[in-house]
């Protein structure tokens, strides 16, 4: 009889522990370990002048209007450079979630440009750990200015320049991201023997989030080659400014020593120097439209 009561007591204790197994534990064990991809390393597809690892997802169109004004040291009569502006218009589209293409046109040298950006790796935590995001950009620029000397044989290929870049970025914390951008520019025809056809540069960019929608961005490219452009000294482009995101728009407002907007122009053709006050105020406006929707929602 005593043995039976001990048995029953043991069983009750065992089943008590069993029944107390928290529903919460079952839920936590069953929640699948997902790959947590890092999003919003930067607020837009450009750090300032140069590309960031951010891309347009499939079906998204980015309309970009970029202005660079003349230099602040133009004086008060020229309203500190605001009287003259250089414009770049661009249309950029995500073909797939990892391939984005863009076309653009700038009045500087009447240049058309096109690029493709491949998203190769995405920073992630969770089921798969990847410390950085990596993308590759390849672009071509076509100068359409009339050749200065119409009497000599002029080649179409002389108008072309190519750029290849690898972008490596890491979102270090919610508020701070960095990116390294080794870059290569090849210009088919340069003005003098002193101007290099090939330019090697290393870019470094960073952004510091100041609030949910505003960040402070900086970008610097170190150009390795001997540097002249049209017999002028070429300087490394440095840009500092703010990104302001409002719903579908991102406004990038900044100061830079480059007049050109595309890689081929700000890498190797920047003749302005911060020390001398050749500082341009510039802005990029980006507006994203969703052309293709993804989800087929059930009606509810």
């Amino acid at each position: 009889m005593r043995r039976l009561s001990v048995t029953i007591l043991l069983s009750l204790i065992t089943l008590g522990i069993f029944a107390q197994e928290d529903l919460m534990n079952i839920v936590n064990q069953s929640t699948p370990k997902e790959i947590n991809y890092t999003t919003a390393t930067f607020k837009s597809t450009r750090v300032m002048n140069g590309h960031s690892i951010e891309r347009m997802q499939a079906g998204q169109l980015d309309v970009r209007i970029s202005h660079r004004f003349e230099t602040l040291n133009s004086g008060g009569y020229n309203f500190f450079g605001l009287d003259i502006s250089y414009i770049h218009l661009g249309l950029e589209y995500g073909i797939t979630n990892w391939l984005m293409v863009g076309v653009g046109r700038t009045e500087i040298d009447k240049t058309f440009d096109g690029f493709a950006k491949f998203s190769i790796l995405r920073q992630s935590t969770g089921a798969k750990e990847m410390p950085v995001s990596v993308s590759a950009v390849t672009s071509v620029a076509l100068k359409t200015l009339k050749f200065p000397d119409q009497n000599q044989t002029n080649y179409f290929t002389s108008r072309l320049a190519y750029v290849a870049q690898i972008l490596v970025a890491r979102k270090i914390s919610e508020g701070f991201s960095v990116q390294l951008t080794p870059s290569y520019v090849h210009r088919n025809l340069v003005a003098t023997e002193l101007d290099p056809n090939d330019i090697f540069a290393l870019g470094a960019g960073a952004r510091l989030k100041l609030s949910k929608r505003v960040s402070l961005n900086g970008e610097y490219y170190y150009i390795a080659n001997p540097k002249t452009y049209l017999s002028q000294q070429v300087y490394n482009p440095l840009s500092v400014g703010f990104d302001i995101e409002t719903g579908g728009h991102v406004f990038q407002l900044f100061f830079t020593n480059s007049r050109g907007v595309i890689e081929k122009q700000f890498l190797g053709e920047t003749t302005g120097s911060w020390k001398k006050g050749d500082i341009h105020f510039g802005f990029n406006i980006s507006r994203v439209f969703t052309l293709k929707k993804h989800l087929k929602s059930p009606n509810y």
């Binding site: 069983s11 069993f18 699948p32 919003a40 929602s297």
Partner: protein, 184 residues
């Protein structure tokens, strides 16, 4: 000695079947807001839920990043600006069926229930009470409910500039198709 263990074993099985738990890993939660300016709609088909029919307790957990929108940009803003899902990756509901006695889980049929519990979003816990239905069919249990939540109740700040794009409250729909967890 052997008889004692056999008896203990059988007793455990008998009581274990009575504490039957049901689970799903693909529960559905969707939310919807309609205004003349904009429709906002998102689906999550990876909700993990557990239901204990002996106590009427239910728990479900949804990862914020598993809510999918038809517009990628909207999904990015949802995670980055509104939900801050890197800081608050999960949302949780812990509650129970208050009129458990009116549900007969062994009989096929549809039963109206009232569920009360705590909903935690962005680490803010609010008590909610809602009506729903429990449908018992072929040994599985389907639970459905619709209720409204106000974003500001969970410290989700919507800037004044875009407040008109959102309805005052979001209409939430929950559809869980539970299957029994086999006894351990």
């Amino acid at each position: 000695m052997k008889r004692i263990f056999l008896l203990a074993f059988f007793l455990n099985i008998v009581f274990a079947v009575n504490g039957q738990k049901y689970m799903t890993k693909n529960g559905f939660i969707g939310f919807y807001s309609h205004t003349p300016m904009e429709d906002i709609k998102a689906d999550n088909n990876q909700v993990v839920g557990v239901l204990d029919i002996s106590t009427g307790e239910m728990v479900f957990q949804a990862l914020i990043k598993s809510f999918h929108f038809d517009r990628a940009l909207m999904e990015e803003h949802f995670n980055e600006n509104y939900m801050e899902s890197d800081k608050f990756p999960k949302s949780l509901f812990k509650g129970k069926i208050t009129n458990l006695a009116s549900v007969d889980f062994s009989k096929t049929g549809t039963y109206d229930v009232t569920v009360e519990g705590d909903l935690t979003i962005r680490d803010v816990k609010n008590k909610i009470s809602t009506k729903g239905t429990i449908e018992v069919v072929n040994g599985d249990i389907n639970a459905n409910s619709k209720f409204n939540i106000v974003p500001e109740d969970y410290k989700i700040t919507i800037p004044g500039v875009v407040r008109d794009k959102f309805d005052k409250s979001m209409a939430v729909t929950v559809t869980m198709k539970y299957t029994p967890i086999t006894a351990k």
